[in-house]
């Protein structure tokens, strides 16, 4: 069963220079209880995806298409119903820990706020001592040292890793069915990143949550996820099981990314590097968006936009695998 089903999703931003389409015709299924790593460089539209699903796009953004949460169509849902899905249905962990928590409120109050929402939805009254106990329990679940001290702190007194744990604990309190993590570790140190990743993986398994893990780092994605979705300039280029994507990548972009991952020493080999840089949304190349950087580019790539095709149980958007006749 799919927890989230996305069909033909496009997201637009109004800018002083006109509209830009940051996600273009995205189709993707996120199966219940599994982890999907959404990987893309800056400007690929990866963060936009999370905000589109939770309908928290900035005022300049608008989404078209269909996003279903189990059987509920989210994009046409009235604000009030959407609110009821946020929190207990879908929860999101933000990228920058240092702006993730309200700076003027104690951790305790921010956690209890979340519990209030949960109890309200269950039609129960909030019992503060009980709620506090529950919050404490969750804080120790996310392996925060001295949870009772943590409860009384203000966000600026915590480290980035601690804040991400508090936010994850908040998510656990709400018991969401889908958790979206928008680069939750990119601001953290490697050793803390490993802790957070291990924690998320463990919790995802224990609670059977569906996890959408957005990241720019293919290695991080491969460490957490079951499936990997590669985004490039607003288009999905490849989607499949992590084994396949990492071991035998199909799309030239995925291949390039994997090969340019630093390994070994400069004395032994030169790092592979893709030429050029990701395109601007205002000036997208014709045909395949990756074509100007692609080492295998041929005529058709610059003329026609490739479709998604299925190869070995994976989806890939590349003419190398699309044997259908030229239009």
């Amino acid at each position: 069963m799919n927890a989230i089903t996305i069909r033909d999703l496009s997201v637009f931003y109004r800018t002083p220079f006109g509209m830009v389409k940051v996600l273009d015709g995205l189709d993707a299924d996120f199966e219940e209880g599994r982890t999907v790593g959404v990987v893309g460089e800056s400007g690929s539209g990866k963060s936009t995806l999370g905000f589109a699903i939770t309908r928290l796009l900035p005022p300049a953004g608008s989404a078209k298409g269909s996003i279903r949460f189990y059987d509920t169509e989210l994009l046409s849902l009235p604000q009030k119903r959407m609110r009821e899905i946020r929190g207990t249905g879908i929860f999101m962990v933000m990228q920058d820990p240092f702006s993730s928590l309200n700076p003027v409120k104690r951790v305790r109050d921010q956690l209890i706020e979340a519990l209030q929402v949960k109890y309200e939805r269950r039609g129960e009254d909030l019992d503060v001592p009980r709620a506090e106990k529950e919050a404490l329990k969750r804080l120790s679940d996310v392996k925060l040292p001295d949870p009772d001290l943590m409860m009384l702190k203000y966000p600026h007194q915590l480290s980035g890793g601690q804040i991400q744990r508090v936010v994850i604990a908040m998510g656990l309190l709400l018991e969401p069915r889908v958790m979206i993590a928008d680069e939750p570790t990119s601001a953290l140190d490697v050793s803390i990143q490993a802790q957070v990743i291990a924690l998320m993986k463990e919790l995802q398994q224990n609670y059977g949550m569906t996890l959408i893990f957005v990241t720019h780092d293919l290695a991080v994605a491969s460490a957490v996820s079951d499936r990997i979705l590669i985004l490039y300039a607003g288009k999905m280029l490849e989607f499949g099981d992590v084994e396949g994507v990492i071991k035998e990548p199909l799309h030239p972009y995925t291949q390039g990314l994997l090969k340019s991952f630093p390994a070994g020493s400069y004395k032994d080999h030169e790092l592979y590097s893709l030429k050029g840089m990701p395109p601007s949304f205002f000036d997208l190349p014709p045909g395949c968006r990756f074509s100007p950087r692609c080492p295998y580019v041929f005529d058709r790539c610059t003329k026609e936009e490739p479709r998604l095709v299925q190869v070995n149980g994976r989806l890939v958007r590349c003419f190398l695998y699309d044997k259908s006749a030229e239009q």
């Binding site: 050793s191 490993a194 802790q195 990743i197 460490a223 990492i246 340019s260 630093p262 020493s265 893709l274």
Partner: protein
């Protein structure tokens, strides 16, 4: 003092560098109130050697003091105590200007390190301000072409109108234009996208081969450090915990921190389990007694919390570690 690491000729040498920052405002008022001053010990007694014509990597997580140490080595910051030798010469007030001419720096964030109002040409020509206009232009041109930018395409543009990768190339061009010997690269690729990062790494390798620069490459990414460097220093909480020939350190990491760090780095291996170390880096205001890694160290024994380990050589000089586990006398102490 004998050489710690190698028999190679050292370009820069620093001895027992300490840098303490005041942790809070200390005005007249606090002094009158006899408030005890607390210091952040960003770098606490560190000695490094940077071999000539080699790339030395300085690896550490945030708060390890790696950036502060780097800034001290290029004289951007004055150490609280300690000595720096540049090409065998003790750096002091008098020869500061001379020494500075021979070193350059590339910062992490290319959005911060280039003056947004200046044209690329002005930026690259700035360090050459003593030369004639013609000379300046030809040097700037050569530098920009060397980093793979087309002079005629970019010289008139403003830094803020370039992409991250291009800006970092300009920053490198500015660094190489005055023909330095020593270049400090402070996380030059961490702000860049994966596909652009490898371009810049390759460029740096290529430039070094061509011009024989000595690099000090500061990074938090241990895999990048491994790729680019010949020698490596691993810093933790203001101390150097391990140092040595890059290959050796990666093949046979000795310090528990280095070992655990290598195991926390996600690799491109699906299903590989990360084994994170526990806890967080200590506060530099009052670091733990003894070894600073001891609270997180799975092998810690009682001596670790009492006595600070010194950086000592192992395996014949190309590898050094600061850990009591490798002290042959540990049982008796």
């Amino acid at each position: 003092m004998t050489s710690l690491l190698s028999s190679e000729e050292n370009l820069v040498k620093a001895e027992d560098i300490k840098k303490y920052f005041l942790a809070e405002k200390s005005g007249l008022l606090e002094r009158l109130a006899h408030k005890r001053m607390s210091y952040i010990k960003a770098v606490d007694g560190v000695s490094v050697e940077i071999p000539k014509n080699r790339t030395t990597a300085l690896v550490g997580e945030s708060g390890s003091g790696k950036t502060t140490l780097g800034r001290i080595l290029v004289t951007l910051e004055t150490p609280s105590s300690g000595k720096i030798y540049y090409g065998g010469l003790l750096v002091d007030e008098k020869n500061l200007k001379e020494v500075r001419k021979r070193m350059q720096i590339v910062f992490q964030n290319p959005f911060e390190s280039l003056d947004p109002r200046m044209s690329i040409r002005e930026i690259v020509e700035e360090p050459l301000f003593k030369l004639s206009a013609d000379e300046k232009q030809s040097r700037a041109k050569a530098a920009l072409e060397a980093v793979g930018l087309n002079y005629n395409d970019v010289y008139y543009r403003k830094a803020r109108d370039l992409s991250g990768g291009q800006r970092q190339r300009v920053a490198i061009a500015r660094a190489i234009a005055p023909n330095p010997e020593f270049i400090l690269l402070d996380e030059p690729t961490s702000a860049l996208d994966a596909s652009v990062q490898s371009q810049v790494l390759n460029l740096l390798v290529e430039l070094k081969k061509k011009y024989n620069y000595t690099y000090l490459f500061i990074t938090h990414n241990i895999l990048v450090a491994r790729y680019i460097s010949d020698w490596i220093y691993v810093m933790y909480a203001g101390k150097i915990v391990e140092a040595g020939n890059t290959e050796e350190v990666f093949e046979k990491p000795l310090h528990p921190y280095t070992k655990l760090l290598l195991r926390s780095v996600p690799r491109l291996e699906p299903g590989a389990k990360l084994e994170p170390m526990e806890g967080e880096a200590p506060s530099l205001l009052n670091p733990p007694p003894g070894c600073r890694f001891s609270p997180r160290c799975p092998y810690a024994f009682d001596r670790c919390t009492k006595e600070e380990p010194r950086l000592v050589q192992v395996s014949g000089g190309a590898h050094a570690v600061a850990c009591h586990l490798y002290d042959p006398n540990r049982r008796w102490k």
